[in-house]
Amino acid sequence: MTIDISQFHGVFFEESFEGLEVMESELLELDASSPDVESINNIFRAAHSIKGGSGSFGFNDVTNFTHVLETLLDEVRSDKHKLNQDEVNLLLSSVDCLREMLTAARDGTDVDEAQVKSIHDELECALSNECVTETETETETETEAKTKTETEEHAVVKNESEVLAAALEWHIHFAPHLHLFQTGNDPLRMFRELEELGALTSTANISKLPPFNKYDAEECYLSWDLVLLTEAKAEKIKEVFEWVEDDCELSIEQGNQQETSNVVNVIADNATPIIEDVDVNKVVPVAEKKKDADKKAGASNETTSIRVNISKVDALINMVGELVITQSMLSQFGEEFDMNNIEKLSEGLKQLERNTRELQENVMQIRMLPISFSFNRFPRLVHDLSNKLGKKIELKLSGEATELDKTVMEKIGDPLVHLVRNSIDHGIEMPDERLAAGKPETGTLNLNAYHEGGNIVIEIVDDGAGLNRERILKKAIDRGLVKENEELSDDKVNELIFSAGFSTAEQVSDVSGRGVGMDVVKRNIHDLGGVVEVKSETGKGSTFTIRLPLTLAILDGQLIRVGTQTYIIPLISIIESLQTSIENTKSIVGEVELYRLRDDYIPVVRLHSIFNIPCDSTKLNDGLLVVAEAEGQKIGLFVDDLLAQQQVVIKSLETNYKKVEGMSGATILGDGTVAMILDISSLIRLYREQAEYKTSSAMNNQAA
């Protein structure tokens, strides 16, 4: 019967990551020469919890690593070890390492073993105050080897003793001290435990009992002589008394001397009261690495939890209450239907609309967390990176209380990091350069967040050198992104940094091979339904502005009609809509149509063809073209009609049916019909496949 505790792994990981953040922020503020006692305690406790939890849940590498960390911290907190700044940095690196180990354990991925070992060794080195490269301090494998041989010895010995003797007779003398009961211990329970090992007979010694008038019921005046017939080893018997061994006189001797085996005596001598004996060791669970069949899908399928302020929950409950009132009012109206009361119905419906809107806003709030959760990784990042580059940078955070959807916040993390790194790397100049330019030596990096309209705006402002127009242009020309003499406004030039293939060659800092470039940043933000833009002034600095919707569940969409079907195009993807004129259309091989829009040739995507549905007319003149963009690609969607623009609630096709190419979801319109939400990038892919097929078959026909 093994009890499955893997259901608590999620909570363990969450609280461990939180603990690591506590450690990190305390370490950043720590003054190595005179560390704050409370800080050290907080750091120690966080490490201690992670060690304990990881052990119980079976993540043994984490336990082993944290053990050394905890030992060092323990010595610091009991003043046995004086910290220096290098060691504080080492501790910070350990926090990073632990973060990676925990992430790997959670996602079932691998961790950089060499790095773990190296930091582990450095910690040991700090502990022993001499740098040992090799085997002096116990390494993980050594401890494992030791315990292995110990358990092997036990196993061997057990077999031998089994061979040599069956049940042995043990004489146990147990004389507890007076105050045994005051620690909540009870001899009766211990004897019951002994009885589980074999046949027990006991003789109580009442000689120490005082007369009744001096008798204190809370003291233990009795002692016992017990005889136990058991196959168990002395160690197991001693274990029963483990908790009280210093509170009593205890002797355990073999009564039956005939079949004394030296082996059994050896065990008795070496017996150390530990709970873990051979059997129990097998039972300690080692968490198996999760099969990473759907690692990518797995990441989004995580069941995570969210902490919600109880006042938000109370507000919700309130609103639901109002909704119920409105509902019963409307239902009453329905029961006693009277045309004269039509006003009441109208009022009731207005009330319903109010209730629903309030409820919607407040429910979305539940999923919102302050952006401080995302911002708080930056002090460390700026500190480390500016040290590494030799730059002086002050980080200012504002608007940390601004709330946004939890998932959006998680996904905006990496892009934000990249933009901040970019500002530090390429924006802010070296201290001497700044002084030469008449600027203060210390550069300022501002991270700001606020709400505007239905969006959250995040600004990354630096007072660095700004974007270098010439350099960007040159690179763009080199990579064939712009033509030599093209006239481009400053804004357009700045936008070039987000183009695919534009990653700057001079990467000073290590972006850990995540393959992040500004183009990926833009794409990630776009995937979240947001936009990013940059404004810059040479010599003065740059401002990156990210605009994100407050929630992922709702979309601003343009309704369009093709035949009898209604589709929704995300407004953010639409560049413009226009009436097609046949003169601007050019056909090339095999039905591929291109539409000339000013200087661009845009492929015409006939939705009725891709989705194979009837439409009003196949003549381009009769319909409209909606020019949409995804991943830098433009297409013209040929539709029959443009309908309204509205906010729609995104319903997942995957959960309700299955993934459909070309669609990113569906929604239910006011009249109850279902409208599909188009996924522009997926449509582009579909279109290309269709076009390739048509082109190749046309060419085959021509050749034939």
């Binding site: 505790i5 907080n42 939890g53 052990g55 909540g184 211990n185 709970i275 300690v284």
Partner: protein, 120 residues
């Protein structure tokens, strides 16, 4: 059924212990640190107390000391959950009045076996 007061600042440990004990038929009162435990202790009468040692606000050892001062807790079995098996911890615990200890990390089966040692 017997009631156990469990005290630990780690939510995952509390949940794991809670789940294990409830599954074995015990009733559980949870507390997040020594201060919380003390206030919950005063209104209740558990058959045993299971407490972590390292906690903010009031640690396990101090908690046991304080609990022992309450009349109804003078003989209640109190177990410490500790990552150390050092003599130092044992002495501190015993001096404070702890009945015994359970060494971390432990698995659910070990937990139940230890609880059985103190609850009839």
């Amino acid at each position: 059924m017997a009631t156990i007061l469990t005290v630990d600042d780690s939510a995952s440990m509390r949940q794991m212990v809670n789940f294990t004990l409830k599954g074995a038929g015990y009733d559980v009162i949870e507390a997040v640190d020594g201060v919380d435990a003390l206030s919950k202790a005063k209104g209740n009468n558990p058959d045993a107390v299971l407490t972590d040692v390292n906690m903010p606000n009031m640690d396990g050892i101090t908690l046991i000391q304080e609990l022992r001062k309450l009349p109804s807790y003078r003989h209640t079995p109190m177990l410490m959950l500790t990552t150390e098996s050092s003599g130092d911890m044992k002495t501190k615990g015993r001096t404070a009045g702890a009945t015994g200890w359970l060494v971390k990390p432990f698995n659910p089966e070990q937990l139940l076996a230890t609880i059985k040692k103190v609850i009839a």
